[in-house]
Symmetry: C2
Subunit: 249 residues, 2 copies
DNA sequence: GAGTGGTCTAGACCACCAA
DNA sequence: TGGTGGTCTAGACCACTCT
């Protein structure tokens, strides 16, 4: 395969994993054994393992060994009618969401464009962490135009900028908007993938080789004016997005 | 930040990149310079650069230097009515699709389940590469139940298992199905992300640190019976999936 | 304590690119 | 040809986990 020694070693181990010679949870042969088997130096073996690690196949653990990864993604289901609702319902089943930040900020160019407000204008902002099992599976940054926040407060439903007096769920917020005369009508989501930055890695306890799914959403009301926009960063090995749509042929 | 030397070096470089001190396309300081600046060994600098590389921030190039990455994702747009159609229309604008393989296979357990046919039964299969700009941006594996393939051939539309006499586009295939009395009615897509395997890396010329978007699709006709299922592997830095749906509050 | 992986060094040689 | 990154070595010491 690759002309390099570590490439050959990585190839052999990869094949063995694919052949199920190493079951998820098991460890690969220890580094010293691989050094002897291939008659190479320690760093050469480690280069091979680093390759597999960044492919998301294994996770080296000090004192334990190089563990073959388990993958057990939890699906978040979107439907044609209301992706946000069911998405929220799903995450609530699996765990809790925690508002870690809520308040006012000024709109940077990207968010200003998405909310169609002037750059630098005051907007509502909250950051939430969604838990799935033990750890954080998704980090959600959500912004609201000021008049939406004020309408919700005026309608007496809660305060999006107050962590202690907050409408927790997506469903609640969307319902509150409807109560306040700004019923969400349409939502557009764009999904991409990239590698997490160290901060995201830390929050989600991301193993090396785990990409994140980026979901950018904008929700509008009847007159097409944005009522909220969200950027969510989800753990790629614990999340998926599913959508079902009708076709006409 | 990190207590390790290479962690500190990586941190400094990452910050500098974020501060735009190095513009995409430019090179980082060469390894020997960083060795001198931090008074460390060569491999320590390389460990730092490897970190940034696997975060997708830089791409080391022999004879050139460590180049800061450019990112220019192209959006593939799905709509409520027909995600496959517009998706295809978009990719056709940007490039060509190439059928690299077409024929009959036997269903493995996963595909058998998705097509609701017995494991090991004969099914149609084709592999396509979608080009966006210079390289392959998506690898698509598509399977059809045997009776669908035969119905299309009988309707005279083409032969899905024949590379030389093929209906090229998604739109065509879906229309042919409709002509053959198996009009697609609903499609369900599940999107996840992972790191590419070496084969996918090679086909897509993937830089290190580039994840792939996995799209699993199943399309059914009126009686809910599957007419096709597709697994697509897309370059994470060149693709995104967008969906727009209506809400009712 | 014995065994695992993690970090780091100093030096060597190779492969690629540009002027 | 000189500078870039890529591979590899032999050896050292550290950090962690299990028994």
């Amino acid at each position: 395969m690759s002309g390099t020694k570590y490439g050959v070693i990585a190839h052999d181990l990869r094949e063995a994993i694919n052949r199920k010679e190493f079951i998820p949870g098991e460890t690969l042969p220890p580094i010293p054994e691989l050094m002897a088997r291939y008659e190479v130096a320690r760093d050469t073996v480690r280069d091979a393992i680093a390759l597999l690690t960044h492919e998301g196949l294994v996770v080296p653990k000090r004192g334990i060994g190089t563990v073959v990864r388990e993958v057990d993604p939890v699906a978040l289901v979107y439907t044609e009618q209301a992706p946000a609702q069911t998405w929220q319902a799903q995450t609530q089943d699996a765990g809790k969401d925690l508002v870690v930040e809520a308040g006012w900020t000024t709109a940077d160019p990207d968010i200003a464009h998405r909310l169609r407000v002037p750059v630098g204008s005051e907007i509502g902002h909250r950051v939430r962490h969604f838990y799935l099992g033990v750890g954080v599976a998704q980090i959600s940054d959500q912004w609201f135009p000021a008049h939406i926040v004020q309408a919700i407060i005026a309608a007496g439903g809660g305060d999006l900028t107050d962590v202690d007096n907050r409408p927790d769920t997506e469903r609640n917020v969307f319902q509150l908007m409807a109560d306040a005369g700004h019923a969400p009508r349409q939502t557009t989501e764009t999904i991409t993938a990239r590698m997490p930055d160290p901060n995201e890695r830390e929050i989600m306890e991301a193993p090396p080789g785990m990409p994140v799914l980026i979901t950018r959403r904008s929700t509008t009301e009847d007159d097409d004016r944005p009522v909220e926009t969200t950027t969510a960063v989800g753990a790629g090995d614990r999340m998926s997005a599913t959508l079902t749509v009708s076709l006409s042929y």
